[in-house]
């Protein structure tokens, strides 16, 4: 059982380049999330999705886009990479959005913008 899988694990981008961070889960979870983690800080929510075809903004959505065409996949796109987007990105999923539902996390994508 793979859980939440993120690719790539590491990436270096130049300013202005674009890329897509991939996330897939095999737990048939309805809810999926993207977070960023900056040094010395907790995780901040970028976007989330409550099901295929439905996405919504989190706390820090600027500079990012998402789509959810299937239950399993929730890619995150950076259109014009900026140094401020250097961070570790985590994808997570949960069965529902209830307050007692724990989220399951992938191992992260470490992204540097130079």
């Amino acid at each position: 059982n793979a859980g939440v899988t993120q690719t790539p694990k590491f990436r270096i981008l130049k300013i202005g380049q674009s890329m897509t961070l991939q996330c897939t889960q095999d737990m048939n979870h309805n809810y999926m999330y993207w977070y960023r983690q900056d040094p010395g800080m907790g995780l901040k929510l970028i976007y989330y999705s409550v099901g295929a075809g439905i996405t919504d903004k989190g706390e820090v959505p600027n500079g990012y886009n998402v789509s959810r065409s299937t239950t399993e996949d929730f890619p995150l796109r950076l259109e014009l990479a900026a140094p401020s987007q250097t961070s570790v990105y985590f994808c997570a999923s949960s069965y529902s959005g209830g307050v007692s539902q724990p989220q399951h996390f992938g191992d992260g994508t470490r992204l540097s913008i130079l």
Binding site: M41, G42, L43, K44, V50, V99, P102, Q103, D107
Partner: protein
């Protein structure tokens, strides 16, 4: 608005001694509370959760946490530290969003636990 404060950014203990990681929260309603652990270059793993049942919650790897409403605290403890416990620990509060339908997670800034041999 809900918030989480982890009172120590770094805690260092010797192997075999007790662990105490402190967390205070602010919440308008009855929250759900979680502790997650993050080992180097890994994602977050759920240690334990509180969801308004028993106030003393037992988790994996010998960790437990006690919910104290009067003190708005949810401290994480372990009787005897092991070298493998060295990691970063996050206290997390979950509350319904403004629409009342979605549980949003609010993360503390983390406490890095070091374990000396």
């Amino acid at each position: 608005a809900q918030s989480v404060t982890q009172l120590d950014s770094h805690v260092s203990v010797s192997e075999g001694t007790p662990v105490l990681l402190r967390c205070n929260y602010s919440s308008s309603y009855s929250p759900s509370l979680f502790w997650y652990v993050q080992h180097p270059n890994k994602g977050l793993q759920l240690l334990l959760k509180y969801t308004s049942a028993a106030t003393l919650v037992k988790g994996i790897n010998g960790f437990e946490a006690e919910f104290k409403k009067s003190e708005t605290s949810f401290h994480l403890t372990k009787p005897s530290a092991h070298m493998s416990d060295a990691a970063e620990y996050f206290c997390v509060v979950s509350e319904l969003d403004d629409g009342g339908s979605q549980g949003n997670l609010i993360f503390g800034k983390g406490t890095k636990l070091s374990v000396k041999p």
